[in-house]
Symmetry: C2
Subunit: 337 residues, 2 copies
């Protein structure tokens, strides 16, 4: 279903013989963790490797870590290097999939115009594809998650920040300069109207993102109102709300209402029937329930279905594996080199 | 560029011989006027006909008026009936282009599930296509207006209400239940959060639509502050603002800011580089200038170009003519009947 957008000029720089290239590797470059999966060409995962990226922001450090994971996965499975037909990696930022360049990452990582595809191809010696991590999560849900067989849906990844992977007519919509789905900066009733600089969370993220939810909690916190500490994280605050704490419920309801407004707006524009809520914050039932309640009150005009991601933290990695399988398929033509 | 979405099963119910079918007719069913244009198969307009639709809301009355216009155009040009290869009509509402049904019109007209294509084919005896009028306006701008050669853009029709025609990768995006682009109901900072019923203007329309602008003016109006009457229309209020009246400027600035927020949100989602402002209200320079100013203050992240429609009130009609030309082309296969 989601194949056409992956067609790019067939690479001729990697020799493959018919016995090599039985496996692929998917990579998820997250803000806190780097995760790799070795899979066969049906997409079945055979091995996993992960490493914390805390303090490892530089692209060369990340590429070196990926090479380490690549080698470790092969060693563990007792497989030769030439068994890997392709690698695909998801990056946490705006990604030019044609050129293989990460144009800009979120305020957490600070990358600008990083030629990630070329860096990885040089380091690993196999064809590489890259894409935005939220796009890959959407792809994961489309292929092995809750959006199987759905031609139009939006994956909303809500963790520290917020991003959307938009699928229209079975294809990812990336936008003319690759920045479609940057919904963390949306303006809805209740969000700040102040100018937002690059490098700071967007107005929607200030209320619905993990960091924003912590700020909302901190600004309302009082020892008198809750036993939960002032520096609690979003999912702890959500659990606390489900357990009945009024202060936590206030924060959840604000986040849920604001998220519902954003979903309502996206739905008016795109008429998408399904929204998949992903990311540790997005998947929490407290947020989904609060958003569903407000959405149902906005009337019959827009009533998309809100469903939690089936793949959870694996959505990006599953999408990366699928993209790697596609990349391998596109590189099957006889090498001319 | 915008051809693929018009493919539908070839009609076999209309006989055409090779000498017949040299012309097409485009129809624009507006809230206040019905307009028809006779054109040759290159799309060049050869004759025009229009009639007020005030008081004529019923679909059968509208179809009868269209037949009257169809006959009048042929009589005026001294052409036989079989010279018309196809007709295309734009309707002011949500339109199922596959089934040829107007699902629902705006609160002004009150149509529900009107089989307009079948009604027109029965009345005129030629193949007919129908689409939403704002989609046709987008098509008009893409083919002979300011969006020529642009694969991704949004046409915003702002008259009494507001609608968007969304072009992605050179194709109209209509949505899974044909209601993509219903942006008059968008929620942005400053809009009402109250539940909106069908049959009433949306939150965005309450501030940016022609009717909404009149309400904003009326609620602020005082004889002391302006010589313009309390029942002025939107474009008069805009002219008054350009002439320096502070009260009118307040209304324009509110509308411009709210419109800028809506464009900003759409742009974050779709990454569209061009917005074409159409409709009598949307084309007024006072509104465009006010929106541009706010948009530029929202920072570098989203800076789409805002351009007034080149075709003005002709955009829908030009789009209808183009759709009729496409419809004629799709019906060129030898008739089996």
């Amino acid at each position: 279903m989601l194949t056409r957008q992956f067609e790019r000029p067939i690479s001729t720089s990697f020799k493959q013989d018919k016995h090599s290239g039985c496996h692929v590797i998917g990579v998820d470059i997250g803000g806190t963790n780097l995760r790799l999966a070795l899979a066969d060409k049906s997409g079945a995962i055979l091995g996993r490797w992960s490493r914390s990226t805390t303090g490892a922001r530089n692209e060369n450090v990340i590429v070196e870590l990926i090479r380490e994971g690549f080698n470790a996965l092969l060693a563990e499975a007792s497989l030769p290097r030439n068994t890997v037909a392709a690698v695909a990696a998801g990056a946490p930022g705006i990604t030019d999939t044609d050129q293989g360049i990460v144009v800009a990452t979120s305020y957490l990582m600070g990358w600008r115009d990083v030629p990630l595809r070329a860096l990885l191809e040089a380091a690993l010696g196999v064809p590489v594809s890259i894409d935005n991590d939220v796009n890959l999560a959407a792809l994961g849900e489309a292929h092995s998650g809750v959006a199987q067989g759905v031609d139009d849906f939006v994956f909303l990844g809500i963790g520290t920040g917020i991003g959307a992977g938009i699928v229209i007519n079975g294809q990812l919509h990336r936008g003319c300069i690759w920045s479609a789905g940057e919904v963390g900066y949306m303006l809805v009733p209740g969000t700040s109207e102040a100018l937002v600089d690059r490098g700071t969370p967007g107005p929607l993220e200030e209320i619905v993102g993990g960091q924003g939810i912590r700020f909302q909690w901190q600004s309302r916190w009082s020892e008198r109102l809750t036993p939960l500490p002032q520096d609690a994280i979003a999912t702890e605050i959500f659990d606390h709300a489900l357990a009945g704490n009024a202060l936590a419920q206030e924060v959840v309801q604000l986040a849920g209402r604001t998220l519902a407004y954003a979903i309502y707006n996206i739905s008016l524009i795109l008429n998408s029937p399904l929204f998949v809520l992903g990311g540790t914050v997005g998947m929490h039932p407290a947020l989904g329930d609060a958003a569903r309640k407000v959405l149902s009150q906005l009337g019959e005009r827009v009533q998309p279905k809100l469903v939690a991601s089936a793949l959870g933290p694996d959505a990006q990695l599953r999408g990366a594996v699928f993209l790697a399988v596609e990349t391998a398929r596109n590189n099957l033509a006889p090498a001319r080199g």
